[in-house]
Amino acid sequence: MSDKTQKHRVVHRRSDTFVKKQLTKIWQEQPSTSNPYIAESARCYGYDLLELMQHRSYVEVLYLLFQGDLPSVDQTKLLEELLIAFINPGPRHPATRAAMNAGIGKTDPAHILPISLSILGGSHLGAGEIEGAMRFLRKSSKKSADQVATELINKSIKPKEGDWHIAPGFGNRFGGRDEVSQKIASQLLTSPGSGPILAWGSAFADAIKDFDMGWLTTGVVAAALADLRFQPRAGGGFFQLISAPGLLAHGLELANKPFTAMPFPTDEDYIIE
């Protein structure tokens, strides 16, 4: 180490300029006249919270919170259908099983959601796949679905083992097409708020049908969110939010049950390779 390097081990603070106050465009709290730490009213993007409670649905305020404006009737309908469609990943999903493990393990119930949502953050059928799926859909929908499918089939290498996601949000699950996802996508397509991305995704799912591939849950959510004008970066977290109720419900279902209420593989079924 040279003297010059030695000299630079000495630490100097950089002259970064930080904001003096936290900025936000989302939420405004009016201080109480008697206590500046207490809010006497709150507004979301300019709308009074109490008025929103009286005049708008939860789904509309959810959209407002993320987009800055209230949704149209058609957008509200599409978002509500999406929230119902993916409200529960189901008891076989790894994230739900994580919730169930927390429940049966007598974990603090307040930890069930953070635990299961962390698992749902994964890049395989989880939040980690949504952003990529949204970017794929937004970029690829400028070309024909058949053309994109042909290009991907020809250039992609099928994994030696396990499922093949030919593109984020599309592929097979357990070796076959995820039939419920196809049906959900078809139903969302009939919603008046659905747009060009869901339509393109359906055409793409049809184009890869002969390879036992199609929509995956993540693809459907990504397409609907793209049609609802969500930014890709918001997609993963929003997917977690959509699925949270089912995860929590399954975890709580087991919270008062004994350890024996969940299968525990025998030593014979535990193989060290």
Binding site: M1, S2, K4, T5, Q6, H8, R9, V10, V11, H12, R14, D16, V19, K21, Q22, L23, T24, K25, I26, W27, Q28, Q30, P31, P36, Y37, I38, A39, R43, Y45, G46, Y47, D48, E51, L52, H55, R56, G68, L70, S72, V73, D108, H111, P114, A149, I153, G162, N172, F174, G175, G176, D210, F211, D212, P265, D267, D269, Y270, I271, I272, E273
Partner: protein, 278 residues
Amino acid sequence: MSKNKKAPNTQLFDQYRGTIRSRTGGWFPGQGVFCHGYNMMEDLVGKNSYFQVMILNATGRLVERRLADWVEAAQICLSWPDPRIWCNCIGALGGTMRSSVVAATVAGILAADSKAYGQKTLTEGVRFIQGALADYKNGISPQQIVSTECARFGGKPTIMGYARPLAKGDERVEAMERVTTALGFEDGEHLSLAYQIEQLLLSEHNESMNINGYASAFLSDQGFSPEEVYRIFTILVTSGVTACYIDTLERPPETFLPLRCDDIDYQGPQPRDIPDRT
């Protein structure tokens, strides 16, 4: 496009259904606990350090004690109790909200799974120096390596492992250099190249190697891959986050940087009436 209309093959999943296959180990009551081929109670407990076993579980390699000691020292360097650091701040917020110490600490660890700081940045740091050494062995000079990397970021010295946010210089490098020497390690080819890169960055941008760059190069010399280093340092920030949690836990709730309403700079729409649905 060729078509494949075979029935879906579920053989792989059928093979795993109802059976756990482990390449790691397991507990068999009455027989013992096995960990990467070692009998945990007979081979590991009392004979190896916690960090040796942690590295074993992260990589499958039972490393020598001095290397585990080096990693332990690096983890000390990489986590300290200042709640202004983003992950530590989350620990402090957990304390002020009376979260459990585990929830707050895990939340802080999760926060450091970031592309800007924390354990994940080591992946990029290791990838950079290993790629740079491969280039160097193919005849590309350190100067070309630095120029190419800086060019990716508009000429700025944005190379993972060099420069750092908030401050210039890094006192942790010197501390770890002392540890390296005390443990009897020699500088390897990755670390030697890292010093050459540092010299260029110092002369051209007045920026030096940071602890990420030093650890990435040293651990590359020890034969670890980027993913292995990421796994070894999974709980990197633990102790600092816990310390910040405890500090605020032991004060009244919501006294950690409490905010008045006017401490928020609201820049959104002004008050407006809810419109009719359209």
